[in-house]
């Protein structure tokens, strides 16, 4: 086993343990904090793969913003223990195991049935420039559609938060 393999296994173990923490910890705030660790672990795997830009955006958007909002909401709305805030939490245990097992199976199936092209070329130096050309060139319609979708979501959230207009 090479050193780089060791780095990957360390990162993967870190991510998986943190993800297990999200699912298994009884305290919901601890779960949310474990989610941050999971995101950071995934970002580490991106760095390992040479995708620094994606990795940094992963930290900025997921670990830095989304999970903070999630923790924020959890702290404001719920009591600490999952069994208190969600009494039916334990009931669907087997069903949940079944569905997540099925999902993992499908995921593994699609991963193993895809032939991954390995490039032997030099490491991409200017990844951010390439991503920019892709987003603004080949995939511009998908990019703009996602932007409009997010805008619609923002407007919807504002309307929901403001409530009905007084006449």
């Amino acid at each position: 086993m090479q050193l780089s393999d060791l780095v990957f296994y360390a990162l993967a173990a870190f991510t998986i343990i943190a993800a297990l923490g999200v699912v298994a910890l009884p305290n919901i705030v601890h779960s949310a904090l474990c989610l941050v660790l999971t995101f950071i672990g995934v970002a580490g795997i991106y760095f390992y793969l040479g995708a620094d830009f994606i990795g940094l955006i992963q930290i900025l958007a997921y670990a830095g913003a989304i999970s903070v909002l999630m923790i924020f909401a959890v702290m404001l709305l719920l009591s600490r223990d999952v069994s208190e805030s969600n009494p039916s939490h334990k009931k669907g245990k087997y069903l949940a195991a079944l569905f997540s097992g099925l999902f993992a199976f499908l995921l593994a199936l699609s991963i193993y049935s895809t032939s991954w092209d390995l490039t032997e070329g030099a490491e991409i130096v200017d990844s951010i420039g390439k991503i920019a050309y892709m987003l603004m060139g080949d995939y511009v319609i998908a990019f703009e559609a996602a932007a409009i979708l997010l805008l619609a979501a923002v407007i919807g959230a504002v309307i929901l938060a403001r409530g009905e207009e007084k006449r």
Partner: protein, 344 residues
């Protein structure tokens, strides 16, 4: 003068060469050099903070027509050292109803994050610890993790004032992150790079503060808010929240938060100098002296603002970010993009 300019770079090379001559592999020598660099950063940060705290107390005293610390040593320069010893030897009090793990790790996470910011800062010509291609993005994304540490402190303390303070700081930091990033983006657009050394080199002829005055003003306001400093220090408003997220902390844990705040302050001031004031470039003096000089001048402005302006109300603070700063920065981005397009 030539020797002074490259003194640290030469020293680093000499260490690597010496280690390799002693029969160490190139990788091993590099790793040891990296560890030395990190140790240097930790040392610089600690010494720097002792000076900064004394300076802030002296300057606040000057602004408020007081004397400030004046008993220990000439002009009270040893006051911070005495305070540090007091904090180190204080009893470590952990309230019984706290969430122990979160309460204990929060200050450590906070200080680690603020130390991580220094990794990409070029302290002189070729003197960044890691000259990352995406340096600016790294600084912003690592900096954004600081909110989590504050949330951990606020929630782990199990105290309503702490939680209120943490929530205020999170709302504030997330809102002001957007204008902050947009202001920096305008600079990045002109420099055409996210690498900090490249950005400094792009300011050879003219500082970006003259090309991007609007971005500089919005950046400076947003940075003050990101640092939770006055007039935006609602999260720790002493009069209403006692000390926000830090209420339950005492001794060294509290000192770590304090340390991290000043660490952040210096890092952000250095970033301001790099992005808008030509970084390590300057006449006569070696490059590694120019960045601290510029950062210190910017920090004096931060001190001056804090001790001059009264605190802003929380709702005004949020409204100001979303209704004024973000539209202004967006308009500035559009104008910058158009000008760059037509100049090409």
């Amino acid at each position: 003068m030539k020797g002074a300019e490259t003194f640290f770079v030469d020293l680093a090379r000499a260490i690597v060469n010496g280690l390799e001559n002693m029969g160490m592999s190139a990788l091993g020598a590099e790793i040891i050099l990296l560890i030395i660099k990190f140790a240097c950063i930790a040392g610089i940060v600690t010494v720097n903070i002792i000076i900064l705290i004394w300076l802030e107390r002296k300057i606040s005293g000057f602004i408020q027509l007081r004397l400030g610390p004046n008993r220990l040593g000439p002009w009270g320069v040893f006051q911070t050292i005495a305070d540090a010893i007091k904090l180190l030897t204080k009893e470590d009090i952990i309230p019984s109803q706290t969430d122990k793990i979160i309460f204990r790790t929060a200050p450590i996470v906070f200080i680690i994050i603020s130390l991580m910011l220094y990794v990409v800062l070029p302290f002189g010509d070729g003197m960044a610890i890691v000259d990352l291609n995406l340096g600016v993005l790294y600084f912003i994304s690592v900096g954004s993790l600081g909110t989590i540490a504050l949330l951990m402190a606020g929630w782990g303390s199990n105290n309503k004032w702490s939680l209120l303070g943490a929530m205020r700081s999170v709302a504030q930091m997330i809102s002001y992150e957007i204008p902050l990033v947009f202001s920096l983006l305008a600079v990045v657009m002109i420099a055409g790079s996210l690498n900090m050394s490249d950005i400094v080199n792009a300011q050879d002829k003219i500082w970006f503060v003259f090309l991007q005055p609007v971005a500089f003003i919005t950046y400076f306001i947003a940075a003050t808010a990101e640092l939770n400093r006055g007039p935006f220090d609602m999260p720790e408003a002493e009069q209403e929240l006692t000390a926000g997220a830090y209420t339950e902390y005492s001794g060294m844990r509290w000192a770590l938060f304090f340390l991290a705040e000043y660490t952040n302050l210096f890092a952000v001031s250095a970033l301001t100098a790099i992005m808008f004031f030509g970084g390590f470039k300057g006449p006569f003096l070696p490059s590694w002296l120019w960045l601290p000089i510029k950062a210190y001048i910017i920090m004096l402005v931060f001190f001056w603002l804090k001790w001059t302006l009264p605190r802003i109300r929380m709702d005004h603070l949020m409204a100001f970010s979303w209704k004024v700063l973000i539209p202004v920065t967006l308009a500035n981005l559009v104008v910058t993009g158009c000008v760059l397009h037509f100049l090409k």
